[in-house]
């Protein structure tokens, strides 16, 4: 975990309201991994909180993130130009880990949840695993990351809420419709809370015993585990820090 001054190399739109930014690291950083995240300053004196964004791609010298332009902070990020500097705390959180015996992997993804999943695909490409991807977007204009999923997945189902691209359904319904063909050993999921709740309910209804890991979002203060701002409820009644103990949790372990 380091707090570094990084330099923007590129920052441009890749879909409606979504930007991709690549920045260079001033030094080598250990532990960049899929499902982990960075906490970026937006670089003005008005917005004191850093923005947590998943690591989408990385090399020894660069990190690429993709972010939806939502409020003031991501708007400021979208105005950064090549050569601008930002400070960034990284890498944060636990990330997705596949066990050796988990060979068939289902990815159930909604909206900007695609970006951490792209890091999973890149990291485990060439390990002989079969990925089956179920990806839901609001509409055709918000579709992004399709190429990465098509390149690395055995089966891909890309759907939209309004049917303007692919079938008119959602990622969870598409996943369960294809479940018998996917035959996953493990399920990884990232997306809005209602999607994760539907996934959890669907798994319970069908009595699916396959392990399922979800990446959660919560508003953060420190981003490093010290302030207890970002906690989530655990099924056992305790609370865990999304930034440090997560953001990835076993779906049965958390109350969504």
């Amino acid at each position: 975990m380091k707090d570094l001054r990084v330099t923007v190399l590129s920052n441009a739109p890749i879909a409606a309201g979504v930007n991709q930014m690549t920045f260079s690291l001033p030094e080598r950083v250990e532990g960049l991994r899929c499902g982990r995240f960075v906490n970026l300053s937006v670089g003005d004196g008005a917005h004191l909180l850093r923005r947590p964004i998943a690591i989408c791609e990385y090399t020894d010298a660069t990190v690429t993130i993709c972010y939806q332009i939502k409020g003031a902070g991501t708007k400021l990020l979208s105005q950064k130009k090549a050569g601008d500097e930002l400070t960034c705390v990284l890498p944060l959180g636990n990330g997705f880990v596949l066990r050796e015996e988990e060979r068939r992997v289902a990815l159930v993804v909604g909206g900007v949840g695609v970006f951490p999943m792209i890091s999973v695909l890149k990291e485990y490409a060439g390990t002989g695993r079969a990925f089956c991807s179920y990806i839901g977007f609001r509409n055709a204009a918000s579709v992004c990351g399709e190429k990465a999923f098509r390149a690395e997945s055995e089966r891909v189902s890309l759907v939209t809420d309004d049917g303007s691209f692919g079938e008119k359904t959602n990622a969870v319904a598409a996943f369960f419709a294809d479940f018998d063909k996917a035959k996953p050993d493990v399920i990884l999921s990232c997306g809005p809370a209602p999607m994760l709740r539907a996934l959890k309910a669907g798994l319970a209804e069908r009595g699916v015993k396959v392990p399922c890991y979800v990446s959660l979002e919560e508003r953060m203060g420190c981003g490093v585990g010290a302030c207890l701002v970002c906690v989530c409820d655990l099924a056992n009644g305790a609370r865990a820090r999304v930034c440090k103990d997560g953001p990835v949790f076993e779906i049965g372990e958390v109350t969504l």
């Binding site: 300053s41 004191l48 909180l49 203060g221 490093v224 585990g225 302030c227």
Partner: protein
């Protein structure tokens, strides 16, 4: 190299920069980024006798140059702190301050008795705006400030007592005097100012608790004014905080009369804020030919 050492009611600090309660946990996480032994001191997350789960989420929101939080004193309880976190903190070369809270006067006395002699200082949080009973209830009126301070003080045989004052009161100077009369060895201020941010689309407060405590750069002028007023009113040392982000900010508090400062929200914006402030203090003093920082304390001259 300027001399940054300060002495606060008999406790020596190698520099006047202290991590503010609730923003630094028990130090372990920030220690992954830098060695927290560089700090003058560390005030822990607010501790209670029993573990507490705190408030529902979301617990944080942003304003312009400020943040609002309503964590609600989530903490593992004093026993787990003593077992799991205190040994780590003791191994660091920084003054350890336990920030404590309770629902009743007996809670305050009980937790003070439990920590007496185990930490370097105890900071009584009677000013948390985010918990329903206890906390702030004691911090509002001078009579109850004095009463809870007296109870805490009589439970302490070895460890000096800091009373942390709330800014959400009629007269912070009157409360400061009340704490001094109750036996406080030192005062710290300010805790957060109560505020609200509304999500206009949902027409609901952004924070689950509805209101939250406002902190960060934007509150600094209010905090400096209050620290000045309190320093004028009392004879015990004062630790100032509220919106400090750099060495120059810290110096305002010291010139207003504070013996040391705490840094909270700035740790979120810049995890290296405190080491930078310490280096910045040294540079400023050297540049201005001031050999030691204690010389600056309370040197404010008013206009007119």
């Amino acid at each position: 190299m300027a001399d940054l050492r300060v002495n606060v009611c008999g406790v020596p600090f190698k520099n006047p920069v202290i991590a503010a309660s609730g923003t630094f946990g028990f130090g372990k996480e920030f220690n992954e980024i830098y060695d927290i032994s560089v700090l003058g001191g560390i005030s822990t997350k607010g501790l209670t006798l029993e573990p507490r789960l705190g408030n529902p989420m979301p617990r944080i929101a942003e304003g312009y140059g400020v943040i609002l939080n309503a964590v609600g004193l989530q903490n593992p309880g004093v026993e787990e702190f003593v077992r799991e976190d205190l040994p780590f903190l003791r191994g660091k070369d920084a003054v350890v301050i336990a920030n404590v809270a309770g629902r009743t006067i007996d809670d305050y006395a009980g937790i003070c008795a439990r920590l007496d002699g185990l930490v370097d200082m105890i900071e009584l949080n009677i000013s948390c705006p985010n918990v329903k009973c206890g906390g702030m209830a004691f911090g509002i009126r001078p009579e109850s400030v004095k009463e809870v301070t007296r109870a805490a003080k009589s439970a302490l045989k070895k460890t000096p007592l800091i009373v942390k004052l709330s800014p959400n009161v009629e007269s912070i100077a009157a409360n400061a005097l009340a704490a001094q009369e109750g036996g406080a060895d030192c005062l710290s201020l300010i805790n957060t100012l109560t505020g609200m941010v509304i999500d206009i689309e949902r027409r609901r407060p952004l924070i689950a608790n509805n209101t939250g405590g406002v902190s960060g750069a934007g509150i600094r002028p209010i905090a400096v004014r209050m620290v000045y007023e309190v320093c004028q009113a009392v004879s015990v040392p004062v630790i100032g905080m509220g919106g400090i982000t750099c060495a120059e900010d810290a110096l305002e508090f010291i010139i207003a009369g504070a013996s040391a400062v705490q840094v909270g929200t700035a740790n979120f914006t810049d995890t290296l804020a405190m080491p930078r402030i310490i280096a910045g203090l040294n540079d400023w003093l050297d540049r201005h030919g001031v050999p030691n920082i204690e010389e600056l304390r309370g040197t404010l001259r008013l206009n007119g």
